[in-house]
Amino acid sequence: MIVFLLVFFSALMLVVSAFFIYRNAEQATEQSLKMQAIGITITLNSVLQNSDIKELKRQGSTIFSEILIDERWEGVAFISLYSSEGKVVFHSNPALIGQKFQEVIPLFKEKTPYYHYLTLSTGEKVFVTDTKINLDEIQYLLRVALHTYPVQSLVRHAKIHMLFLAFSAVFIILAGFFTIKLLSKIEKMQNRMKELENLSMLSRVLAHEIRNPLGSIKGFAQYLMKKISEPPLKEYLDIIVKESLRLERLTDDLSQYANPQSINLQRVNLMELIHETVLPFSIEHKEIFFELQVEEVSIKTDRDKIIQILNNILQNSVSALSEVEEKRISIKSRKINGRIKIEISDTGIGMDEEILKKAKEPFFTTKPKGTGLGLAIVGRLCEILKINLEIKSKKGQGTTVCLTLLESL
């Protein structure tokens, strides 16, 4: 999070600096236009002061257009001199001499030089400097209009620079965001791998350290059960054997969760495999109605792991049915868009949202003697076999487990 904020802050700084570069370029451009306009105004004023203005007016002089012929004045759009009535006295475009422009009259009341922009009939935007000058004690308005495009290229460059920096900033922010997301994903994966490595080591130690004493506890209990026929004692021994089996199952489950064996791919007839897996359950639980709608399809997968997945899911379904009246487990499988969907539904007690969220977590169980690893093993094996696992459940309405398999791994 801190890294992302730093990246975001530096990108923001980039945008701010780009904006100021642009603003400076704009101001520098305007300053340059002002300086140029003042220089021209002073030159023209000096020319006019040294000329006989009345004579020039009488001759209908084209003095301004003559001045503009000189190529050194190419940056000038037009120059003009207006009388206080708004009438054009001189203009670089002689056709306009004598015409009246009402909008010029209020400018005589303004403080000059007055700088502003004007849009010409050609659509061009020009920089205008209006200056009041006195010729033979009569006040005139000298207007110098400059083309902006020579200096505007500087602003354009600054604008492109700003846009480039803004895009860079957006790119940096996006790249930063995705990098951080990727890094956190990698970190999560590393943590998960470390967790599994620790669990794998723990399960190996447990397997050895628990199963060793369990070997003699369970063995001697089984041996004594054969020797002793007294009912209460036989019952106690039976408890020892059963509890030993429970511990044995815990180490088995833990080992399966933490150290799944490598994938052994083979062609499997899914219909036969489902029938084979369900058969022992239907024999053991005659009170449950098993409904099978399975399409005959051949898939390439790890047979033992699929059996393990189905066994664990069915085991959960059977447990969920123990407290309900309608005992039904339905297994459907069909091929959809090149994938095989297996749906195992039961009419059991179901799970509320909170339990459903935790259902796949290792060691989470609602059964008094469960290891809490059944669905965790299913999740882990699905991960290995690239099976999409989805569990839908509602309290009191049963549970549906959907497995979506690839036709070939």
Binding site: S203, R204, A207, H208, R211, N212, P213, L214, G215, S216, I217, K218, G219, F220, Q222, Y223, K226, S244, E248, T251, D252, S255, N259
Partner: protein, 157 residues
Amino acid sequence: MPDTVRIIIVEDDSSFASFLKTILEEEGYAVMVFNDPEVALKNIKDFSPHLVITDLKMPKMDGIKFIERAREVVEAEFIVITAFGTIPSAVEAIKKGALDYITKPLSSLEEFLEKIKKILKKNITVQTLICLPMKYFLQELKMFMKWLKKLQRLTQL
């Protein structure tokens, strides 16, 4: 002990070894337990067992190494004991010459005893029907060759 079937148990977990000894002795086998594989190697020839049951994971020497060394000294069948998680080692042990493996805890006493009985029966059958007659046949053949050589010398004279 020529008539009894002799079994050696090599297992560092003395309780489990004691349990195996109890149930095997009850079946009439002569059983000797070693908690240390090195001591077992020193004494194995004297006991001359028909069957050796050895743990795979032991502190001084692992079961696979023990089988390799014991096979140099005696002709017996070997079974390995494995706690869950060492099945690949059990398979490795079978590749090195062990006949079978059992898991700890045993899934059922009857199954285990049946397995032992089958292995020993096969071993003893092989010994009595093939190995022993072959041994006698070779001894007789040697005697016959010696006698033949003597006869040859006599005819040369």
